[in-house]
């Protein structure tokens, strides 16, 4: 279907650009996939990918669950928001490097420090997005829930989460990618394996082919997750939205 077409188009672009340029600068898809196959054969790819994925997953879950809870609380309670907003702004704008270095210094070169540093980097972004979502919550449905004495769990599930869904979707998509990017930095500074470590090696050797060979599998994995899990799920939970009739809207 259209998704494959789109990918084919992209591959064609890439191949075209590669043909026009020095292979050292931009190797084409074929050598890159060869390199991927090579790394896969030696097993190195999987070891590193697994290490990175585990870090991404742990940091993401930590940051998202904490971020959603805090963002929701701050969006709903103006007093909390006023108190912690400056902290949020500070954490948001603290360079990743600073957080990572401090985390390693304080907790040693440990896995916990790595994951914690990444989570701390992503946390404020999750809070910011979820806070906007909580602020935009429909007051009328709240009143309905209040009148019908819905239990907290039911409110969360039937009233709050469906309204936060687009914000969660946005925070998840950009969040996963952010976490992955920071994991790469964390691995570069204080881990002995992982995709970030390998990418740095490739960069030191200036091997763009190897660089891409380590960058792409994660991208493909995300593409698969998106296609096979996220989008079907999204379609399912948003099937109540009315399809816009044709010929309308600004665009």
């Amino acid at each position: 279907m259209i998704r494959l077409l789109s990918l084919a188009l992209l591959l064609a672009f890439w191949q075209g650009a590669a043909l026009l340029s020095d292979p050292r600068r931009l190797p084409g898809p074929i050598p890159v996939f060869e390199a991927i196959a090579q790394e896969a054969e030696s097993g190195a790819l999987f070891v590193n990918l697994a290490a990175t994925l585990a870090r991404v997953a742990a940091a993401f879950l930590l940051a998202m669950s904490l971020g959603a809870a805090l963002g929701y609380a701050m969006g709903r309670r103006p007093a909390l928001d006023r108190l912690f907003d400056p902290w949020l702004v500070i954490l948001l704008n603290l360079p990743a490097l600073v957080v990572i270095v401090l985390a390693y210094l304080w907790a040693g070169l440990t896995e916990a420090a790595a994951v914690g540093a990444v989570a701390l980097n992503k946390l404020p972004n999750a809070i910011v997005v979820m806070r906007e979502g909580a602020r935009a919550l429909d007051h009328e449905l709240d009143e309905m829930a209040e009148v019908f004495r819905l239990r907290p769990a039911a409110r969360l599930r039937h009233i709050v989460l469906p309204q936060l869904a687009p914000y969660i979707a946005a925070a998840t998509r950009s969040g996963l990618s952010l976490v992955w990017k920071i994991v790469l930095v964390v691995e570069l500074i204080g881990r002995s394996n992982g995709v970030g470590f390998e990418i740095n090696m490739a960069f030191q050797l200036f091997d763009v082919r190897l660089l891409l060979a380590y960058a792409i599998p994660f991208v493909l994995l995300m593409l698969a997750v998106e296609t096979l899990l996220v989008q079907p799920f999204e379609r399912h939970v948003s099937r109540w939205r009315r399809r816009p009739a044709r010929g309308q809207g600004l665009a």
Binding site: L105, G108, L109, I189, G190, F197, N200
Partner: protein
């Protein structure tokens, strides 16, 4: 066996020695059990030693000097004298004077030791490189690539990148060893070394001494035995035999030949020069090489 935790840069030559050590069973021979944390770059090594996660890393004495001036109790034991070079494709570039009006790439940054040495050297000849040339700082691999490509007219690079560039047809305009000598060094001064905490050294002087002896053996093997070099080569990603040969040559040249005492004297001299150019931003509050920068084992543990 005594346990030592090492933090080694995966692309560094420390890893080669380790390959030889394990291939020839030198660690068992020395009664040491080595745990190695591979690190991505020198900065990672600095975090590793500061956070207490490893006992020994490889870094440079200048950094140790600065940390000492700030109160850290780190100390240094020589490992290699390998130092970078100024590389250019244009054969007309022969001296710092020829760099005027050219685009010069500097790997690392404005406080990089090689760069400060080169500036001091140029100053001796009446050239202020920061004014006469356009300086571009950048990550070492990127600077190397840009020099190879010709976007940069010349590049001041670390020794391994310099070897790469040489293999790609660039020539060594100025070897920084020459610069060191010109600036008053008596021999080839040490550049990198093993860095560890004084407290650690005080607690385990004997294993440390055995460790240094074991490293010496490994280095000697790499220099003399092709079997050892083959073991080390396993750890080198570059596959081009010409480059590999250059690596070995540079490595062997970099094995420190002098006593720690001589090294300290040279280092103290260079330190004064560097402190003058780099200022407190580079060296911190100390004006002279802080005492204890170079490791002084208690008399009983001397090999």
């Amino acid at each position: 066996a005594d346990r030592l935790r090492l933090g080694l840069q995966k692309t560094g030559s420390g890893v080669w020695e380790l390959a030889v050590i394990s291939a020839f069973g030198l660690d068992k021979e020395a009664g040491l059990e080595l745990t190695v944390t591979e690190l991505a770059n020198t900065d990672a090594a600095k975090i590793a030693i500061q956070s207490g996660s490893v006992d020994i890393v490889v870094s440079d004495w200048l950094w140790v000097a600065r940390q000492r001036s700030e109160g850290a109790k780190l100390t240094f034991y020589p490992h290699s004298t390998a130092i970078g070079a100024l590389m250019a494709r244009d054969k007309a570039v022969k001296s710092v004077a020829d760099l005027s009006g050219k685009k010069l790439g500097v790997a690392g940054g404005p406080l990089d030791k090689s760069w400060l040495l080169l500036r001091a050297y140029a100053q001796q000849q009446g050239v202020d490189l920061t004014k006469s040339a356009t300086i571009v700082y950048g990550a070492p691999p990127l600077i190397a690539e840009k020099a190879a490509e010709g976007e940069l007219d010349a590049a001041l690079e670390f020794w391994n990148f310099a070897a790469d560039l040489e293999a790609r047809g660039l020539s060594r305009v100025i070897d920084l060893r020459k610069v060191e000598t010109a600036l008053g060094a008596k021999g080839a001064p040490v550049v990198t070394g093993y860095v560890f905490d004084e407290g650690f050294a005080a607690k385990s002087p004997a294993p440390l001494a055995r460790f240094f002896a074991m490293i010496d053996k490994a280095r000697h093997l790499i220099a003399t035995s092709d079997a050892a070099w083959r073991a080390a080569m396993q750890r080198i990603p570059a596959k081009d035999p010409a480059v590999l040969a250059l690596y070995r040559k540079s490595y062997v040249e970099g094995i420190p030949a002098r006593s720690v005492e001589q090294e300290r004297e040279d280092a103290a001299g260079l330190y004064a020069t560097l402190a003058e150019i780099g200022g407190p931003a580079l060296v911190g509050s100390a004006k002279t090489l802080p005492a204890g920068t170079f490791y002084e084992p208690a008399a009983s543990a001397v090999r």
